[in-house]
Symmetry: C2
Subunit: 225 residues, 2 copies
DNA sequence: GATTAAACCGACTCACCTGCCGGTTTTATG
DNA sequence: CATAAAACCGGCAGGTGAGTCGGTTTAATC
């Protein structure tokens, strides 16, 4: 929770945050509306994680959330608007969790190897429900053009924000911008793939072995810079 | 097309092949039935690649294939039976393509580094429509229990077959069985993840750079054995 | 306290997909 | 040629989900 890291976190999160105006709930009764919206979106994420993109139906969300379909329609006139809110919510919260994890870690033990810490924090952030939802959306967006129209811009925005800010988040890689970028692409790809293969990899140590190897490999990239 | 490699390929493919009896089309008119089945399954794969698991509907397949829904029902009474045939078809044909690619490659240039050849052949096999369909099924199976009941056993069977045969396919790794297994898990995970991230990675050289890095890393695993 | 606006409710229509089934054509068999 | 079996056809019923709409309750404003 140092001041310097906070500014970076704030900048990244601000760039990824939904249109949610930073202004506090000006009117004390419209605040309930925002709460309801948040509750619905959270329920939608649950439905998405549990039933996939196909399970993200307005009826399922309404039932599970305990609101009527009419109320749902009031806050999210169409299903795609709900999906858009889910996309924003998920990308924001996963990033938030990752930043808190990583910067919390380097604050506690400043002498440890930061690269492996970052890699392990990333692996943890990828195992969250938020990222499961993100993967589900990414997969569905490959064949659903309507979803892709919502998802792809956010995915690209996430990528550009990360690319432009990571040089400050990981100053050790100074003057090796392309190598850091490669390391990030590498880590993202492996971790996503590991989630996909999780059912067949099983719960033996295969996942752990692989994750250790990934962390070691990224460390080697850093050492050989 | 050497005799020795053929036996390995045959053994692997036999273990993965659908129940399709090796016996030739005994009756000259039931053969048309098999042809029709194959045509329907192939069309189903196309639908799957194009519209995702949600787009794999009996109506869409029938229309696209040019057959009536009644004929579809005759060959595949239920949608899940069609899905099962698709799963078998896809895992078999991707493996077939990979083996042909790899063993064709090592037959042509026997002095080249086999590890990078294998890694690149794997990357090519992963970019096929068959693997796109496989990924779509793997993703959907995470939340669709009915599909998982069909998909997971095949996925595990593929994994065990590969694990038990690869030591012969890659004899250079003799006495480093666990390392080879790790290399395979690693390669599978990265390549799957790369496909998922393809839309955001774009067509700049990011994918190529990453693939080169992966091949180099696997080569290092081999060198450090 | 009356009026206006927002939040909320449930039923209806429309479209789509699955499974079913009676009927028709084609092929195999005695 | 007769008969049976297979391949094939298209329409029907049941269920589900998205979007729409008139009506009701609750809060805000004068």
């Amino acid at each position: 929770m140092t001041t310097k890291t906070n500014t970076l976190q704030d900048r990244v999160l601000a760039a990824l945050s939904p249109d949610r105006d930073v202004a506090a709930p000006t009117k004390w009764q419209q605040r309930k509306s925002a709460q309801m919206r948040e509750r619905i979106v959270q329920t939608a994420v649950d439905c998405l994680v549990e039933g996939g993109y196909a399970g993200l139906t307005t009826a399922a969300v309404a039932t599970r959330c305990g609101v009527s379909r009419g109320a749902m329609h009031h806050h999210f006139p169409t299903r795609l608007e709900l999906v858009g809110a889910v996309v924003d919510h998920v990308v924001y919260h996963r990033m938030r969790g990752y930043l808190a994890d990583y910067f919390g870690g380097i604050a506690r033990r400043k002498d440890e190897p930061l690269i492996e810490l970052a890699c392990e924090a990333h692996w943890r952030s990828v195992q969250t429900p938020d990222y499961a939802a993100w993967l589900e959306l990414a997969s569905a967006a490959r064949t659903d053009t309507e979803l892709a129209a919502i998802f792809d811009p956010v995915a690209r925005r996430y990528d550009t924000v990360w690319t432009s800010e990571m040089i400050e988040a990981f100053p050790q890689w100074k003057d090796h911008w392309d190598l850091l970028k490669l390391a990030h692409d590498f880590t993202s790809a492996v971790h996503s793939g590991m989630l996909l293969h999780a059912p067949v990899f099983g719960s033996e140590g295969r996942m752990e072995r692989l994750q250790h190897f990934v962390a070691r490999t990224v460390q080697q990239m850093y050492d050989s810079r």
